[in-house]
């Protein structure tokens, strides 16, 4: 039942790797989000808050390209949004890492399973579903 430890990558090794990847992803995302937050509050903290009316975010905060443009221009809200995108990317990176692990383990069925999940995630993140 358990994968023999003689394989190049045991399930145990993969678990450790996935755990570390998730932890690092969350830490980096949190730091970027918090840094953007400090900058935003320093610039806009005393303005009036209004999230009651739904307008939708401007196009430059809806996609990776626009967000990176905003970050390069040091827009605080774009830096927060970059942190959130890194956070969303963390589970995706975990699935990609699982795919590499299954390829190294030559586990054909799970190479297919993991590829399907990864394809669905990329489909979603590249705006594949119509609004």
């Amino acid at each position: 039942m358990e994968t023999p430890r003689t394989q190049r990558w045991s399930d145990y090794d993969v678990d450790q790797l996935l755990g570390n990847l998730l932890r690092i992803g969350v830490i980096i995302a949190t730091i970027v989000t918090a840094a953007g937050g400090v900058l935003y509050l320093a610039q806009h903290g005393l303005e009036q808050a209004d999230r009651r009316v739904f307008q939708g975010e401007p196009p430059e905060l809806r996609g990776v390209r626009g967000i990176i443009g905003g970050v390069l221009a040091l827009h605080a809200s774009a830096i927060i949004q970059l942190g959130l995108v890194l956070l969303i990317a963390t589970p995706v990176a975990r699935v990609a890492m699982s795919l590499v692990a299954f390829i190294l383990q030559r586990d054909r069925v799970f190479i297919v399973v993991t590829s399907i999940v990864l394809a669905l995630l990329i489909f979603s993140l590249t705006g594949g579903v119509p609004g």
């Binding site: 039942m1 999230r51 699982s98 399973v113 995630l121």
Partner: protein, 295 residues
Amino acid sequence: MKLRHQNIADSIDTIQAVSVLLFTALVGGGSFCAGLLGSLTGLGGGIVIVPMLTLLFGVDLRYAIGASLVSVIATSSGAAAAYVKEGYTNVRVGMLLEIATTLGALGGAYLAGRIGTSAIAVIFALVLLYSAYRSMKPLAEHVSTDTAHPLADTLRLNSTYPTPNGFQPYTVQGVPAGFGLMALAGVLSGLLGIGSGALKVLAMDQLMHLPFKVSTTTSNFMIGVTAAASAGIYLSRGYIDPVLALPVMLGVLAGALTGARVLAGAKTTILRRLFSAVVIVLALEMLYNGIRGGV
């Protein structure tokens, strides 16, 4: 936006009139409490974030769901990092069922842009009520070492988990039924911005007969991927507002981490009842608002 309750209308006007700084602090504090209670009771913080933001802070439902999704990814990924290393999580079962949850999540997120916020509020209320009921009546454990479901053998899903007596083997049952219920969990996650942990555990625990600790940790492992599938769609639709998501994400994460530290040896029965009561009140409020058509 029409407001129904005078008291809530007052609180919204008060909170909306404040500065960004105070709004961030208040939302952050509320999110911290949600994360703390969610982690201590095992219900997850995500479930009360949306009602808190919409009912208490007057935030639009779509922004609230976007912020909640992001916080769900943060807490589940943070916790999954520890569980997966301890060997509880069944990564293969998780991967397989993620096909169902991500497909469901894409469907749910698509639906969220198609149906009105009132309908979403009513569905949310029903899910809240179910979660409260579930937490009052803990599930009985059905660890199985019988013959596994044929698919579980083919896919090598059967595994072992750590117990005080060393690693114990278990077999996996009901693979197709579990897969089906997972698709529903995915739809609710994409539609409501929650982790759907209660439903995921139900599928693995009751239908697939995984040990309880394996069900909860594998559910947690899957929540991040499910929520990421929905979050991509919410982001491209402009439903993720950085200034709202900031205190929600950081607050819930800090609360959940604090809760995880306190958890060892804590008596959670009273907390669990208290939290369930809060969830029921929020559910009724959302149900009322949803039916009146003004969320």
